[in-house]
């Protein structure tokens, strides 16, 4: 194998760790807005971490592709700072309502344009819609063998060995390259990238390409099949929390123990 080429698909989403008070649902306009900074989908960060580890053991070139209506290279530069080699931003206002099938289709077109690769990695799902479909659909569209929920990856003799998470434990699967693998959080978090390193990146020219729907020859009204009929506010999860107080820890522990005893 010549230089190992890995593509990581990364979605930009509002921080899924944001408190629920940060989320507002506009039922009229059918828009959810989150008052929190955008981040790279944490599961896609897991996929990037897996890619960087493979590159560390056998060399290689990592391309990160992101698709969205409005992308921030500030958010996505983190991928380069962590160890990716190239960023491709596929951006078009019409991508606002892309469904999983639509996103996978745009990724397919992008990947066909950039040429050859050995491995595509995606996160197991995205922390906004949690559908977990794009990676698997993309594999089908590209006619690639694939496996999901990777906890560990190793490349050997033109194959990828994937230790994957299954309900009974783990399973070791061998897949011929080129292949697509979806990555689970068991891989571990993306390595720490210091803020100063990301800020330094902002000043540097980084290897980045921007593509639009037109560049890919996409008829954007035809890529999505799912219609959002209605958006509803969530059922209320809040409860009235009674805080346990007391003169000292001893007394608080006593009260807490009583509450526990009464609850079972």
């Amino acid at each position: 194998m010549k230089e190992l080429k890995i593509i990581v698909c990364a979605k930009q989403i509002p921080d899924p760790e944001a408190p629920f008070s940060a989320v507002t649902v506009d039922t009229q306009k059918k828009i959810v807005s989150v008052d929190a900074p955008d981040v790279i989908n944490p599961y896609d960060e897991n996929a990037l971490e897996a890619a960087i580890r493979l590159k560390e053991t056998m060399g290689g070139f990592i391309t990160v592709i992101s698709v969205g209506a409005s992308l921030s290279d500030t958010v996505l530069r983190k991928a380069i700072a962590a160890g990716a080699d190239e960023l491709i931003l596929v951006e078009d206002p019409s991508f606002q309502d892309l469904d999983s099938t639509g996103t996978a289709y745009v990724l397919k077109k992008t990947i066909e344009k950039i040429g050859s690769f050995h491995l595509i990695l995606t996160g197991r799902q995205a922390g906004d819609w949690d559908s977990g479909q794009v990676g698997l659909i993309l594999a089908e569209l590209l006619g690639l063998p694939c496996t999901s929920m990777a906890a560990n990856l190793e490349i050997k003799n033109g194959h990828i060995l994937v230790e994957r998470v299954v309900p009974v434990g783990t399973e070791l699967v061998k897949v011929p390259l080129p292949a697509l693998v979806t990555v689970s959080n068991e891989v571990g978090e993306l390595r720490y990238v210091s803020r100063s390193k990301i800020l330094a990146m902002l000043k540097k020219r980084i290897p980045m390409k921007k593509l639009s729907a037109k560049d890919l020859g996409l008829e954007t009204d035809k890529v999505s099949k799912l219609e959002l009929v209605e958006l509803q506010p969530p059922p209320d999860m809040r409860r009235q929390c009674a805080f346990i107080d007391g003169a000292n820890l001893e007394e608080k522990a006593q009260k807490l123990a009583q509450i526990i005893k009464d609850s079972i």
Partner: protein, 328 residues
């Protein structure tokens, strides 16, 4: 007219529990669509589960029997189900939102030129055009999207605990064997399966979970100790965790509570050092009583808790264990 087909997953020689919710939903939708409610089981020898499936009032039950279907190999199953759906042509195809569904449905949908919607909590028929209205929580349950699509089959996975379980109706559905051309070779090969002891969090009456705020791996021993106090009284108690703990490799994913872990609703949920990321809250908010211990009084966990204690778990847990030893 549209038929509704469900895939019943096997557990040993029986059926996985969510199957019975699927039956309820399938019968309901079939009635509205003026079609039949159909069920199918696939396996090496799914005779017993097929017999069980016949007892719940489906219009017809299908069985596919092949040695290659003994374990779940996605390539084989996707190909098999593609044949099933092309032959039976149901309008709707349903599965429980299981690991199997997550692997199967997105790829199956592509092969049938349709799409799938995952993890829905409610399905209705739009009387205007007889298409499904698929309700799905998004943004960790902070909004509910109602979605529609006009391609067939309409493929959906259903979140657990969304519908009541079907009851036996005293009659037996007709059973048919389907013969398919099962794939003999696959590109992906399973080399080895490592089974480990897996805990079933959703069966526990008491769950004690630790999160990012639990500083040391060793501190989980205190949570275990707390759980053992309930166990001694014959109350099933387990230690769970939030996602960061699995990410760190301190616990396996079967211990994870939340949207990507297990959805639980025990009598008592004690959250220790868990700030309350939405994806965790969705998984435990239906617990009867919720107690949160966290030093950060502003954290989300307190917003869904019945009782809160703003103290360092390291100080309070040993005292609490001592008190409970005396009281329980």
């Amino acid at each position: 007219m549209g038929d509704v087909l469900i895939l019943a997953e096997l557990k040993g020689s029986g059926l996985e529990k969510p199957t019975f919710e699927l039956i309820t939903l399938a019968k309901q939708l079939a009635k509205e669509l003026n079609g039949k409610a159909l069920g199918i089981v696939l396996g090496k020898d799914p005779t017993e589960p097929a017999q069980e499936l016949r007892r719940f009032g489906l219009d017809l039950v299908f069985k596919v029997q092949d040695p290659a279907l003994e374990s779940f190999i996605p390539e084989i199953w996707i190909n098999a189900l593609e044949q099933v759906l092309k032959e039976l042509k149901p309008q709707v195809f349903l599965m429980a939102h299981s690991p199997m569904a997550r692997d199967l449905l997105p790829r199956l949908a592509v092969r049938l030129n349709s799409i799938s919607t995952m993890d829905c909590v409610e399905l209705k028929v739009d009387p205007k055009d007889n298409r499904l209205l698929r309700k799905k929580p998004i943004y960790g349950g902070n909004a509910m999207a109602v979605l529609k699509c006009n391609t067939n089959p309409e493929i959906v996975s259903l979140r657990k605990n969304s519908y009541p379980m079907a009851q036996e109706n005293g009659q037996l559905s007709e059973l048919k064997d389907l013969s398919l051309n099962i794939l003999k070779t696959t590109l992906t090969q399973v080399l080895e399966t490592k089974k480990r002891e897996v805990v079933e969090l959703d069966k526990a009456e008491v769950i004690i979970s630790g999160g990012r705020g639990v500083a040391e791996r060793e501190d989980f021993a205190q949570l275990e100790q707390l759980a053992s106090l309930f166990e001694k009284k014959g109350i099933k108690a387990l230690v769970g965790c939030s996602r960061p703990i699995v990410d760190k490799g301190w616990m396996s994913s079967d211990r994870q509570v939340g949207l990507t872990g297990t959805m639980v609703a025990p009598s008592l949920y004690i959250a220790i050092g868990i700030s309350g990321a939405i994806q965790h809250l969705v998984g435990m908010v239906r617990s009867k009583k919720i107690i949160a211990i966290n030093t950060d009084t502003g954290c989300n966990m307190f917003k869904v808790a019945d009782y809160g204690l703003s103290e360092d778990y390291k100080e309070i847990l040993p005292l609490l264990i001592k008190k409970l030893e005396e009281m329980l």
